[in-house]
Structures are given as C-alpha cells and as structure tokens.
Amino acid sequence: MHRFANPARFMRIAEPILPWTSVGALAAILLALYFGIFDSPADYQQGETVRIMYVHVPAAWMALFAYTLMALASGSFLIWKHPLADLSAQAAAPIGAGFTAIALVTGALWGQPMWGTWWVWDARLTSVLILFFLYLGYMALVNGFDDPERGSRMGAILALVGFINVPIIKFSVDWWNTLHQPASISRLDAPAIDTSMLIPLLLMAIGFKLFFISILILRIKIQLLKKRIRSIQLTH
C-alpha cells in the first residue's frame, strides 16, 4: 500500500497498465452489449425489458464500489497523508457520480414498463439518490476552498461521514418493504439468475470496472502533471 504512495512509482506501474485496461474495457463492454442484446434469452416474466438490467445493475455496483474506494482513499489520506490517496479519492468522485446517474436513469427506464412507474420513494431508490447528492456535495466541497490542501482534507472527512450510506443502500431491500427487489447475485445459495443472463451481466461489470480503472489512472495522471506544472511555474 505505502509503496504505491509515491507518485513517480505509481506512474511507472500505472502507465503501462493503461492501454490494457482501456482496450479490455472496450472489448468487455462491446462483448457484453452483444450478448446482452443479441445472444441472451428474454426473461420468463419481464420479456425483452430485462436487458436493461445488463447496464443498470453493473452501474449500481460501480456507484457503490467507487464510493467505497473514495472512502478508503480518504481514510488513508487522513491517516498517512499520502497525496496520492487524496488524488485517487478526488479522481473517483465524478466517475462514481456518473455511474450513479446511469443507475438512476436506467432504473427509471426499467421501472416504467415493469413496475408501472418511473420513480417511487422507497428506501432503496431514496438512499441511492442520497448517494448521488453525496458525490455532488463532495465535489463541491473539495473545490470550494482557495487552498486546495484544505479542500482535500475537508472532502476526505465528508467522504468518510457519508460512507454510512453505503451499507444502508446495500441492505435497504432486506431491511424494509421496498418496491425494489432484493439482490440476485450476492445470495448465499446459488444466484437467482440464469447462466445465459449472468454472462452479459458479469461481462458488463468487468467492462465497467476496467473503464473505471482507466479513467481513474488518466485523471490521477492529469492531476500529477498539473501539480508539476504549478511547481515549475513557482520555481521560475
């Protein structure tokens, strides 16, 4: 963990990975789209509409994953003061917000034909909306200071405080009566989803994750370069 905290070493490792993750992301997403649209069966209840799941569910997973990563990075930034941890938390926020928005929009598109409504205020939907607000609040707070260092620290504390929402989102469907159905994949017995449908779902999840990693590396790299430019300008 600490070994990667050195920006130069990070770039030496991340730079060669980047092309692989970008190509991998593209390939996995295209493959998932192919399987999802052409080579997977319609659901016994939902018919063709079930294909929205192949985007909705992986996006929702990424929304939670990105926030968890952000909170972990924020924690290690506050404890060990690694500048790289702060950079990755800040880099993850807009990507996570984007995935949350995708999950919310595809959820509405899925809800309209299946449930008969675009939106309901049940515990799952509301808590995901709060997650979206938390992402926006974090980004506003980090950029709200004239001193960027100060923004990083305050944002890190907010990210940690907001983490309380993540388990609430995860378990909301089990704890309360919601219109949203419970999880299909993370059940203790076999997943309640047929293999032919699991393939595009997991492919898309892998694709999204690789996409996330690629954008994360790119964003960190940009910030590191910006920092270097600033320090060069200061010394000259």
């Binding site: 319609a42 659901d43 016994y44 008969g116 049940d122 515990a123 919601t178 219109l179 159905q181 449908m197």
Partner: protein, 147 residues
C-alpha cells in the same frame, strides 16, 4: 481528573451511547419505513378511509376478474396468511399477473381496497422461459410465485 482518565470516560460514554442507540434502532426496526403494508398489518389497525395507503403482497391465484364493461378489474392481494379484495379502474402494468408481487395504492373503505394506482413488484429471479418451465416440471421451482 487526569487528561487520560477524562479521555477514557469520554470514549466509554460515547460507546455506551452508541450501544443504546443500536438497541433502540433494532427495537424499532420491525415496523417503520415500510413502503407498503401487508394485508395482515391492516387487520389490527384501524385506518382512515380518506387517507391514501399502500398495500403489498401477491395477487392470489384465480382471483383476477374483469368487469363486464372491461374498464375495471378486481383481484385479491394475499400475504399467504390473510388477503384483501381490491378493485381498480385503469391500466395494469405489464408485469401484473396472478401469483406475482404487487403494490396497490389507494383507499381502504370497509374491507374493500379501492386502488388508484397499481405497481408491479418483480422478484429477484431472472431466467429464460424454457428454464422456468423445466424447473417447474421437475419440481425444483423455488420462486415465490407459481403462475
């Protein structure tokens, strides 16, 4: 008090409060923040017929009836213990069928639920039709609905 002892007392008090809060929350967990009530919930409580509520459960098998003019439907919502008759005028969502989960929004008037909106609740099982059929045939069907 020395600073160290004071810090210990503070941490102790904080943990005590968190424990009490957890106990309170767990105690209250059962019946709050429900998006809908089950027919059983509605038996014991008196409800205001002018207040909109939501009832959720499964649509009972062979309970769906269309009226003669074809505009309104009636069906029964059951939680497998108790059931509640519902009438509804309007378009049902695609996923509405007997044996499937449903949430109805409307008014409970004298034991009859007059629904203003009907939302379908789908379960966490996803599979192609052939698999569902063969599972049912072989008796391995675990899904909550038997249609």
């Amino acid at each position: 008090m020395t600073p160290k002892r004071r810090r210990l007392t503070m941490v102790g008090l904080g943990l005590l409060m968190i424990a009490a809060a957890t106990a309170l929350a767990l105690n209250a967990f059962e019946d709050t923040l429900v998006f809908f009530y089950s027919p059983t919930d509605l038996i014991d409580t008196k409800t205001n017929p002018k207040k909109q509520i939501r009832v959720g459960g499964l649509v009972e098998e062979k309970s769906l009836l269309k009226s003669n003019d074809g505009l309104s439907v009636s069906f029964t919502i059951t939680d497998l213990d108790n059931s509640l008759p519902v009438i509804f005028k309007g378009a049902l969502p695609d996923l509405f069928r007997e044996g499937q989960g449903v949430v109805a929004e409307g008014y409970l008037v004298g034991g009859l639920f007059q629904a203003k909106h009907v939302l379908a609740k789908h379960d966490e099982n996803y599979m192609p039709k052939e698999v569902a059929d063969s599972l049912k045939k072989s008796g391995k069907w675990k899904g909550g609905n038997k249609q």
